[in-house]
């Protein structure tokens, strides 16, 4: 009864005043309703930062076998499908958040004619750089890709229209598009994390869902200390300590995007 009377007042308000009556409605609603309103907030355990960053100590990850557990951890956690080229006949539908590539591919502008032999063959782990000044965010026409206050370049799969402007904008090739329904290509499913629908772009999310629960990203957890994750803006953080004490490089700094992923070579 209570509820319906309020609704009636609302309806009468709208009918009488048209759409512009929303302040009136709110007044009605506030007047008749219970005092408390539900709230949303961050969890108590959440890990938060001003700009999350990652340091990859490539010296500790020298073979593909070293990288595989990290990649697997990431892809399993996030239900990233493996669309086997052997099955579909081509590699066009590939989706990857975290993968390995060669030095020359990861750092084409740092290519040296005569390179350190070990580095030349060392596999490099690449992923979304969660840039400080991300061109993909600038390109997205719907704010489906956006930069969170903690520096993570996040994606709202509900809002993505699949225009792929972000893919063209990303100078690191960090983004994948769901050219088809990914579910049939999931060997196992992490029930706690959604899959994607066809027609949206996806990429590394720095494990926001784990950070919310106070956990480090899956790859960091699986890296046995080869990956260091932390707040780049906090001078006291571990990551800053690592950066202070090691020479690091970032990918394509000349483009001015400000990658938040650093490599110790």
């Amino acid at each position: 009864m209570e509820d319906s009377r309020r609704n009636f007042l609302k309806m009468a308000g709208i009918a009488a005043l048209g759409a512009g009556a929303s302040p009136v409605l709110n007044a009605f609603a506030a007047g008749g309703g219970p005092a408390a309103t539900p709230k949303t907030m961050k969890g108590k355990d959440i890990l938060w930062a001003k700009q999350w960053g990652l340091v990859i100590d490539t010296r500790k990850l020298t073979t593909a076998e070293d990288l595989k557990p990290l990649i697997d951890a990431c892809h399993k956690t996030h239900n990233v499908p493996f669309i086997d080229p052997a099955i579909v006949g081509h590699n066009r539908h590939e989706i990857k958040w975290l993968w390995q590539t060669g030095y020359a591919n990861a750092f084409p502008d740092l290519e040296a004619r005569y390179t350190h032999e070990e580095v030349e063959t060392r596999p490099f782990l690449v992923l979304c750089n969660h840039c400080e000044n991300p061109p993909c965010v600038r390109a997205c026409p719907t704010k489906a890709t956006f930069k969170r206050p903690d520096g993570i370049v996040a994606m709202d799969f509900h809002r993505c229209i699949g225009c792929r402007f972000c893919m063209a904008a990303c100078p690191f090739g960090a983004r994948s598009f769901n050219y088809r329904d990914p579910r049939p290509f999931l060997a196992e499913t992490n029930l706690a994390f959604p899959t994607r629908t066809k027609g949206v772009v996806e990429k590394c999310n720095f494990c926001v869902e784990r950070l919310a629960d106070g956990l480090l990203p899956a790859c960091v957890e699986a890296s046995n200390g080869a990956l260091v994750f932390g707040d780049l803006e906090d001078p006291a953080s571990e990551i800053r300590e690592v950066l202070r004490t090691n020479y690091t490089i970032r990918r394509k700094v000349a483009l001015g995007t400000g990658p938040a992923v650093y490599y110790i070579v």
């Binding site: 009864m1 319906s4 609704n7 009636f8 309806m11 709208i14």
Partner: protein, 336 residues
């Protein structure tokens, strides 16, 4: 200034109050949810049929199609089959174009006396656009509502719902037809109010259905997007009506009164329908200027009440003028 639409608006407001008060305060859900809809349906069906039968009782004494194109004539003259149909099937096509595409309104022009002394007739398609939007949107809304009256819901109805909610806007996803309906009604109303000549010819009976249909669309949209009613409970009632398995009174009373306002509006529309200009739904099929072939010279049309009339025969005529005719050398039947 214009009492006509104020009366109509008032009538619709009173109707909404009646249903609201009747269900929210007086708890007459059985009356508004069961008795009134059944009665309305009965009145609609019976009176609709009756009106059609009354029309059918008046014969069509002459074949008077309005020809809007070249008729069938000499074999080498290209004719316009559907604006000047000659056969039954051409008439069917003409009627289909008329009813499904609003062919005649599509010709609509707007006259303007220009300052330079020219009268211009511009193609004016807004009326056509909003009229056809209104009708099709209403039709889609009706078909979509079959989900409340059928169980299991047929695939076709689900598919229509999917198409109608194709654009993912809002929660629940908006059905485009609802908003198209409300928008078109609004424009048709504004047209009536703002165009002086249209305001001049409009009756209260022209505004009332617009307000009523807007009320239906508004309460529908309101239930779906603003205050959410218990849809399954509503369907239990609506499906109960058609299957004669009504839910318990307490369950009916649990449904928001706005639902009953909506249902009452619909009931009023149904009951009002056969007594109003809305009967153009049936009448459009019976218009003798449209549903007859233009073949009157080729196929004789019979007038059931044709009766002999007094004529001035040739003999009477010759009697009047025989001498003069003879004098002028004109042939006559009788010489004297």
């Amino acid at each position: 200034m214009n009492g006509k639409y104020l009366y109509s608006l008032l009538a619709v407001i009173v109707l909404s109050l009646v249903a609201y008060v009747g269900t929210a305060l007086l708890r007459l859900q059985v009356f508004f949810g069961v008795i009134v809809p059944y009665l309305a349906m009965l009145v609609f069906v019976a009176m609709f049929a009756y009106r059609m039968l009354v029309w059918s009782r008046s014969p069509v004494p002459f074949r008077i199609p309005t020809t809007a194109g070249q008729a069938k004539s000499l074999p080498w003259i290209q004719r316009n089959r559907f604006d000047s149909p000659f056969t039954k099937w051409e008439v069917v096509v003409r009627m289909a174009l008329e009813i499904l595409t609003f062919r005649s309104l599509f010709r609509n022009t707007r006259m303007q006396l220009k300052e330079d002394g020219r009268i211009a007739y511009d193609l004016e398609l807004w009326l056509w656009l909003f009229a056809i939007t209104f009708h099709y949107a209403f039709f889609v809304v009706l078909l979509r509502h079959l989900r409340f009256f059928l169980e299991p819901v047929p695939y076709a109805v689900q598919l229509l719902g999917t198409v109608d909610t194709f654009l993912q806007i809002g929660t629940p996803v908006i059905s485009m037809s609802s908003f198209a309906l409300a928008g078109a009604v609004l424009v048709l109303f504004l047209r009536r109010v703002y165009l002086p000549h249209l305001r001049f010819i409009s009756l209260a009976a022209d505004y009332f259905p617009l307000f009523l249909i807007f009320g239906i669309a508004f309460t529908g949209i309101y239930m779906r997007y603003i205050t959410k009613i218990d849809v399954t409970a509503a369907k239990a009632l609506t499906y109960g009506l058609v299957s004669f398995h009504l839910p318990a009174v307490a369950d009916m009373q649990a449904i928001s009164p706005i639902f009953y306002v909506h249902l009452f509006f619909v009931s009023v529309l149904l009951a009002y329908f056969p007594f109003s200009k809305l009967m153009h739904l049936g009448g459009v099929f019976l218009s003798p200027t449209r549903n007859l072939p233009n073949n009157t010279r080729a196929v004789r049309h019979v007038n059931p009440w044709n009766y002999p009339v007094k004529v001035h025969t040739y003999d009477e005529y010759e009697d009047d003028f025989r001498d003069k005719m003879i004098e002028a050398g004109l042939p006559v039947e009788k010489k004297e």
